[in-house]
């Protein structure tokens, strides 16, 4: 290939239609794959020069429209997947932003180091983990992902900058949860956590209703590093909010049976099955979900302690089924996740009541307690209760119901998670993220020309200052030539 050919490969070329993991709101853009940091600089410079909008994309696990940019350039970062430096004594690892948590676990779990935070899937990139400041089942104890990032290299329209929480705290924390709009993370340095085994020691218990669940979590979450509750979203009346709590710690070597101690750090999860086709929308409905929930609740032991589970089983059960997002059919689905502060339990109850009364069928409804927030102005987690659930798109009540939930959440001082959002009313953004102006100021400093944009940022007016009731302008168009027709201009009969 000639030098020109190489350059051509990195000038935006491949027009592709993209969606998030929820498979809603597709839009087309030019996708540029990059394989080196220099590729990335070239593509970014080219797009900046031609005044096109740019956003980076990792493995496409954001549910909504965060990693797509209609008509612009989307940089596929998954080629920057090299581990650049690793200190196995301290657990400090530097890797390309396109490296997946799956790859990090496969490389470092056998060496006794685990990622500091993992979401419900391993198939996210480090860059995406920073952009969404992801949280895991250990947030109540350990905080979110960016608390473990000690340094990152950021590609901006004016060049590359090295950022740490000490060197430029405003930029570092604006990037944490900044949805990729403050620059593109090229590589990052992450502090991993020490483990003795690749096994989890899990305690399971059932809670009979929401109060029971909240009490159990409040009283005993502190005893565990990881904690989550699965909620039966369709249970009503006295059973509303019935739950299965699974809380765990990394198993110590002595927790394993002697025969397994020699190979304690073996980590080799496999994808069991693949959803082969997209079934018609409607498969996930109140009947199928109620049946599943009943089974799932009854299958869980009333109480069981010290069960040994693999990391994949405990953290990433859905990764065992490839393309599980197809289950919701061609129309796709919405994941709604919000957090409300402690003390706003009534808001949580109001949301669950509406879900169960309206028979909104969510396959996976998950409740968790967040610990203190990190300094990121757009970082999602704040101290309180977070609830996440999926709803299929199609039933006409879904949109208005979620709009009503937004009001409850915002009214309680809570917020929704932008990495999962695909439908928030933009007017509520500032109420949910009161430090938005601070974030916008930092963003403006780094990207004054507004190169970075995504469908999410346009939909929510994240980047520009919101229009405040600008009065409508009078008609500017001149009257067209008069036509002779007598028929009235109206629609079809």
């Amino acid at each position: 290939m000639t030098a020109d050919g190489v350059a051509a490969r990195h000038t935006p070329g491949v027009r592709r239609s993209l969606t998030g993991w929820g498979r809603t709101a597709p839009s087309a853009c030019d996708v540029s794959e990059v394989h080196t940091a220099e590729d990335l600089d070239t593509v970014l410079a080219g797009a900046t020069h031609s005044k096109r909008s740019v956003v980076a994309r990792g493995l496409g696990r954001s549910y909504g429209d965060a990693a797509q940019c209609a008509g612009g350039v989307v940089i596929d970062m998954t080629g920057l997947d090299t581990v650049l430096e690793a200190d196995l004594d301290t657990g400090v690892v530097r890797m390309g932003a396109g490296t997946s948590l799956d790859a990090l676990m496969r490389a470092f779990v056998p060496r006794g180091w685990f990622v500091p935070v993992t979401p419900g899937t391993r198939h996210v990139t480090v860059g995406g983990a920073i952009a969404a400041d992801i949280h895991g089942k250990n947030h109540h104890r350990d905080g979110s992902f960016c608390s473990y990032v000690t340094r990152l290299s950021l590609a901006t329209p004016s060049g590359r900058v090295e950022v740490s929480p000490q060197s430029d705290p405003d930029l570092f924390w604006a990037t944490a949860g900044g949805m990729g709009l403050t620059g593109i993370v090229v590589d990052a340095t992450v502090q991993m956590v020490r483990i003795e085994t690749a096994t989890m020691r899990v305690d399971t218990e059932r809670a009979q209703n929401l109060d029971d669940c909240l009490t159990r979590m409040t009283e005993h979450d502190g005893d565990y590093r990881y904690s989550v509750a699965w909620i039966d979203c369709l249970a009503r009346g006295a059973k509303m909010g019935r739950a299965v709590l699974t809380r765990a710690d990394h198993a110590r070597l002595e927790d394993l049976p002697p025969a397994r101690r020699a190979d304690a750090l073996c980590f080799n999860p496999v994808v069991g099955a693949q959803v082969p086709i997209t079934p018609p929308s409607g498969l996930v409905n109140p009947v199928t979900v109620a049946a599943f929930n009943e089974l799932w609740f009854r299958k869980a032991p009333r109480s069981r302690t010290g069960e040994l589970q693999s990391m994949a089983t405990y953290f990433h059960p859905l990764d065992g089924v490839g393309s599980w997002n197809r289950m919701y059919g061609a129309r796709g689905f919405v994941q709604y996740q919000f957090v409300v502060p402690f003390g706003a339990e009534e808001a949580l109850r109001a949301v669950l009541t509406r879900l169960s009364q309206r028979r909104m069928a969510s396959f996976v409804t998950v409740l968790k307690r967040f610990g203190p927030a990190d300094p990121g102005p757009l970082s999602f987690p704040i101290e309180g209760w977070t609830l996440a659930f999926d709803l299929p798109v199609g039933p006409l009540s879904t949109g208005p119901l979620l709009d009503a939930l937004d009001e409850i959440v915002a009214g309680a001082g809570g917020r929704v998670y932008l990495a999962k959002d695909s439908r928030l009313r933009p007017e509520l953004l500032e109420a949910m993220y009161p430090r938005l102006a601070e974030w916008r100021a930092t963003r403006q400093r780094i990207d004054p020309a507004g190169v970075f944009a995504s469908d999410l940022s346009r939909r929510l007016d994240l980047v520009s200052t919101p229009r405040t009731g600008r009065a409508s302008r009078p008609s500017r168009a001149r009257a067209s030539a008069k036509t002779k027709t007598k028929a009235k201009e109206v629609a079809t009969p």
Binding site: A70, G71, G72, E489, A491, T492
Partner: protein
Amino acid sequence: MNDAMGMPQTAVVVGGTSDIARAVLRSLVARRLRRIVLVGRDEIGLAAVAKELQVLGPIEVDTMTFDVTDMDRLGTVVADSSARLGQVDLVLVAAGILGDQSSDESDPEAVARVLTTNFTGTAAVMTAFAAVLRSQGHGRMIVLSSVAGVRVRRANYVYGASKAGLDGFALGMAEALRGSGASLMIVRPGWVATGMTEGLDPAPFATTPQAVAADVVAGMERSTPVVWSPGPLRLVFAVMRLLPAALWRRLPG
């Protein structure tokens, strides 16, 4: 941008005084629609619609006077309306005239006028906006067709043929837009009680602009390629299409 439920934030409406378009806009303003450009021939009528919409909430409405048969100004109107919105999430194509079948069928100029407005001009407008949607990589076009075009009847063949042509054009364009990020939805209403049909006798399955709007919004949420309104007309016309001519001719209306 359109959200996960297919709800737009911005819209251009061609045929901005159409009763069906007005009803659709009212429903969409209640969801996410905040900025609108109304395009049409009747400046005073457009201003009235703009006023009626602005009562509903803090939205911006611009109006532009334009006749869809005015090829000289088409490019300017499309560029100007798109520029005002920034991103065009929805293009609602609702321009159209009914004409008067009994006098039009012996008046070549009148036939040309109905066909030029409902088919030729509208198809040109669609083509210009399709280029906008294709280049921005997203957005939806909604085209108001009619059941009158599904199988053209003797009783309104001038109007029916114009809608038959438009419907076929739109079906083809919908296919052409696949993979572009943009999409096109066809709406086939039955007899709707509007300004257009004032004074005419209602046909079976007659409906209202509000009911059509509800079907349109439901179609948007479900990404339905063709919306029939009311819904049962889909089945009715599946049969109608196949009726022998001798029988078809005898149907009332």
